[in-house]
């Protein structure tokens, strides 16, 4: 088994042990499905536009980024806080193997716990969430994995990024929205002239490429952090 696969297995098991986090995420994901069902059965709702607006707001702006933050940032920061990173770091393993394995594990947990329920919620309200949710998950997971590796308070910093960058800056104008992951993911969800309350309209290619590039940049940053880490 490769180093990346070993780290993946280790990290996956470890992440699933964080019961508190898992319960919060499951509840949020379940809430998305419940609200989707309510929308489906509401006489006032215009589907799929209202469903898309809800899923972009609740799914792509709240559940997915905050869930990815909870999971991915804790992957390495837990080990640093518990002072167990030494057991992995001191083995003959390339930085990219460690970070790729950890990223894979975090992404898998995020996909299973959040992306899949959002896709299900999308199906209920006739909205295709698959590509947007998955790419947003990949981008956020990469970024927050890096936060967990290089920052001393990754959760706090992640919250600031999500609140200030993704929400405030992203809502200022169509131009500043280009700087947010959410707008690219939402562009894959929204069709035609739907008004979902957030600037969209990114090209298909950009909507695919930018989240992937952001996720990859996060991985590179995490690998850099691994290499230069002073491990206690």
């Amino acid at each position: 088994m490769s180093h990346a696969a070993l780290v993946f297995r280790f990290m996956f098991q470890k992440l699933l042990r964080g019961w508190g986090r898992i319960v919060v995420l499951v509840v949020l994901a379940a809430l998305a499905i419940v609200i989707a069902v309510v929308l489906r059965n509401s006489a006032d709702a215009t589907l799929p536009e209202d469903g898309a607006a809800f899923l972009v707001w609740f799914g792509l702006s709240i559940v997915l980024p905050f869930g990815a933050l909870l999971i991915a940032s804790e992957a390495f920061s837990d080990l640093r806080d518990e002072r167990t990173l030494v057991y992995l770091w001191l083995r003959p393993m390339r930085a990219w193997s460690a970070t790729a394995g950890a990223a894979g594990a975090a992404l898998t947990v995020v996909v299973v716990l959040l992306v899949v329920p959002l896709i299900v919620a999308g199906l209920i309200v006739d909205v295709d969430m698959a590509a947007g949710a998955f790419l947003a998950a990949a981008a956020y997971t990469g970024v927050f994995l890096a936060f967990g590796m290089i920052l001393s308070r990754p959760l706090l910093m992640g919250l600031l990024v999500l609140l200030v960058w993704e929400n405030v800056i992203g809502s200022l104008s169509a131009a500043t929205a280009r700087l947010t992951i959410r707008s690219y993911a939402a562009s894959l969800v929204v069709e035609g002239g739907w008004d979902v309350g957030t600037p969209v309209g990114r090209s298909f290619a950009a909507s695919i490429a930018v989240p992937l590039a952001v996720g990859a940049a996060g991985l590179l940053l995490a690998a850099w952090g691994w290499r230069r880490a002073e491990v206690a």
Binding site: F10, E82, R83, Y87, P92, R94, E230, V231, A232
Partner: protein
């Protein structure tokens, strides 16, 4: 080099310092080590753990160079296969079972026959490979041994142990010390940090003494003691004529201080331990004093340690 001068150098530390902001954890330390067991001795905060972290590559020196088996442990990833570290902290991967934990190290290190190696490592430290309990249920002593199993499963050429005997009962300590000696005798370098003098004395005579981030002494602690010329050596003599012997020692210039413990003992402070040792028997014969016991009072490690650390 600590220990035999002829041993191959496995660790070379040259003028290494490590700073954390304004705090100087290690200051201008140089030493070389070869195979065998060496104790890294010093009080808490002396810089021992930081030194072990730099030797393992876990931390980079602020200044100076660290070479382990000729390589930079901070940069050479393959070198990590040849290094085992038992860190000071108790924490483990709490969700794992012992066998999974040790097997992870074997797998990540590319150890041949990882199953067998895992069983052997766990057995070597006196734990049960079939234990189904998770590590979060382990006692402090069991955690120490689990960490040791993790460190030795890949049969490293260098084993660094940071306070490894903490939390072990006397029987376990003896087993571990025997194990360290066995590993050291097999041509590997074992560096054991401790602030407990009794432990260090049982680990052998080769020591590195650190205090306040500096290397205060290295080598055989008995030789270190001999080099402390500016401090008198003390001996306790049991004899049937302590006053006569005390008078003779002062008259011959062999003692710089004498304390008589009636009725049959005296403590002598001498500036020249070698001259004292050669002259005491003839002097006792001349003074018709019967020597029953001659015991050095400060040739032990504790004396050396206190002298070095208090003077640093």
């Amino acid at each position: 080099m600590s220990g035999a001068e002829t041993r191959e150098v496995m660790i070379a530390v040259e003028r290494v310092s490590k700073r954390f902001g304004d705090l100087v954890a290690v200051s201008d330390v140089s030493f070389r080590l070869g195979a065998g067991v060496t104790a890294l001795l010093g009080p808490n905060g002396a810089g021992k753990s930081t030194m072990l972290r730099m030797l393992s590559g876990l931390a980079a020196p602020s200044e100076g160079t660290v070479r382990v088996l000729g390589q930079n442990p901070r940069q050479d990833i393959e070198l990590r296969r040849r290094i085992g570290l038992v860190p000071q902290q108790e924490s483990l991967f709490e969700h794992m079972r012992l066998r999974e934990f040790v097997r992870l190290a074997a797998d990540l290190s590319g150890t041949p026959n990882p199953d067998t190696a895992t069983e052997q490592a766990i057995g070597t430290v006196g734990l049960d490979p079939g234990d189904r309990r998770r590590l979060n249920t382990y006692s402090k002593g069991m955690r120490q041994r689990a960490k040791l199993a993790y460190a030795i499963v890949c049969a490293p050429d260098l084993l660094f142990l940071d306070e490894p005997l903490t939390g072990l009962d006397p029987t376990q300590r003896n087993l571990m010390i025997d194990l360290f000696h066995r590993i050291g005798a097999s041509g590997r370098c074992v560096l054991v940090s401790s602030h407990v003098l009794d432990e260090v004395q049982r680990l052998g005579t080769d020591v590195l003494v650190m205090g306040k981030g500096r290397l205060l002494a290295e080598g055989d602690f008995r030789r270190i003691r001999d080099l402390m010329d500016d401090r008198p050596s003390r001996f306790r003599i049991t004899t049937d004529a302590p006053r006569a012997l005390a008078a003779g020692l002062i008259a011959e210039g062999l003692a710089v201080g004498v304390e008589i413990h009636e009725p049959s003992a005296l403590t002598v402070a001498t500036a020249s331990a070698g001259r004292f040792a050669a002259a005491i028997a003839p002097l006792a014969r001349d003074r018709r004093a019967s020597l029953r016991e001659l015991r050095p009072l400060d040739a032990d490690l504790e004396s050396v340690f206190r002298y070095l650390v208090e003077g640093s």
